[in-house]
Symmetry: C2
Subunit: 261 residues, 2 copies
């Protein structure tokens, strides 16, 4: 089975032109099938401010109203996605930028909640694995914007972490999939204030032990629970680490590698 | 050879939600390989106004500066492109929206002019016919935004009419290509004030005759010269007519069909 890397980059990289350029050089240079999933960083927020569109929060949660959806579609699927693709092309990486509506790549439904209306937020139902396979086999690297569709003509805003995970799970019957979450820290840390305290390898038993001893930073727990859920769905490896060290994350010399026994 | 329709829709359709929805229903419903090329209508201009970006004109020509390029990338390749794709998906047409950087689909260079700097405007150098062929053979209909790239990381704004023509010319060795320019009039008119005076069929000799008699509206001449140039490059047929009558344009009962002898 071919190996497939699904790499999520966080907003802090998107927002920093030099870091993004450096990351994209690393992404372009490593061999193998690869998919990049990006969010939007602060650009969408700034665009909303410039256009006078107020961000709606209900119970501390951001709501995607029609105007916000328009902005994220423009910024994520337009500006950021196409600039990333153009930069990868310049690095001789044949990239193609898509959102979930393109080729029916990612089908979702508007989130249902008993009390809250999240607006145009989508939860993923299906991934078009055949299309992804066809494109990867044509040596195309995919760049995915976190916008899905509902097959009824509605675009939906979807969490980029979730998209990366759904793609990794869906592709694991045809590829040995590794899911890489790149963020601002060096990996999963034993001491949240010490960047040198990275746990290089995390298996279920050790994770349970660390959780019981309260050695895992609370904010990491949902991420790690999701990582183990992905492994249980057939993903081979989840790697969490710093975007600036992409090559090292891939060859296993940086970050935290989360694997099953 | 399979028939391939390359259809350009004008801004007046993009700007009108009901007309666009009706056009997309027609586009989705006809059988055959098809590519839709869209411009941006007034949305980009409105967005520029909202963001306080002044439109620069030099000698009456619009200049694409960096801020304008950002806006057209957001509006054309993001908002308009993805909404068209989502609507086509709702009509069970498996559409995929791309710009020229995606899969290196349309390579261009920044326009060189001895005196004028048009800014980030691209003239097309190459079309990735292999990729288009692969996607069409997967029963995907393409929706193309008029943004190209220069393989150096720069996106470029490119005229949508030109893109439609370049695609039609590039694909004519593998397909019997028909290029449809849909606009606000019923076709090429003998009398510009009479919508019933459509010329149903225009061949080179008749065109020369009409030109000599000054029976062709001056504004149409560059369009028609381009149409005949496309035919001389192997495009089978150019059809000019009203977007609201797409089905009739395709089956030859409306619009002007421009063909070689």
């Amino acid at each position: 089975m071919d190996k497939l890397y699904i790499i999520k980059i966080g907003g802090n990289i998107i927002d920093d032109e030099a870091k993004l350029a450096s990351f994209l050089r690393d992404f372009a240079s490593f061999n193998g099938k690869k998919i990049l999933v990006h969010g939007g960083g602060k650009l969408a927020t700034r665009m909303a401010e410039q256009l006078g569109v107020e961000q709606k929060l209900v119970d501390g949660r951001r709501i995607t109203d029609a105007e916000t959806l328009k902005i994220v579609t423009m910024v994520y699927a337009g500006y950021i996605n196409k600039n990333i693709v153009a930069q990868l092309q310049a690095q001789h990486c044949n990239a193609m930028g898509l959102c979930g509506a393109d080729g029916d790549l990612m089908l979702a439904h508007k989130r249902q909640h008993p009390v809250l209306d999240y607006g145009f937020v989508g939860d993923v139902d299906a991934i078009n694995t055949q299309l992804i396979h066809t494109l990867l086999q044509s040596n195309i690297s995919l760049v995915l914007a976190p916008i899905t569709h509902d097959q009824q003509g509605q675009l939906l805003n979807t969490n980029a972490d979730t998209i990366a995970q759904e793609i990794a799970k869906a592709m694991c019957s045809s590829y040995e999939t590794a899911l890489i979450y790149s963020f601002e820290k060096n990996g999963v840390l034993l001491d949240v204030n010490d960047e040198d305290s990275v746990i290089p390898e995390l298996k279920p038993a050790y994770y349970q032990e660390l959780k019981q001893k309260n050695r895992i930073f609370a904010g990491m727990i949902p991420k790690l629970d999701n990582a183990f859920a992905a492994l249980n769905s057939g993903v081979r490896q989840v790697i969490i680490g710093k975007a600036e060290k992409l090559n090292e994350l891939i060859n296993g010399t940086s970050g935290t590698s989360i694997i099953n026994e």
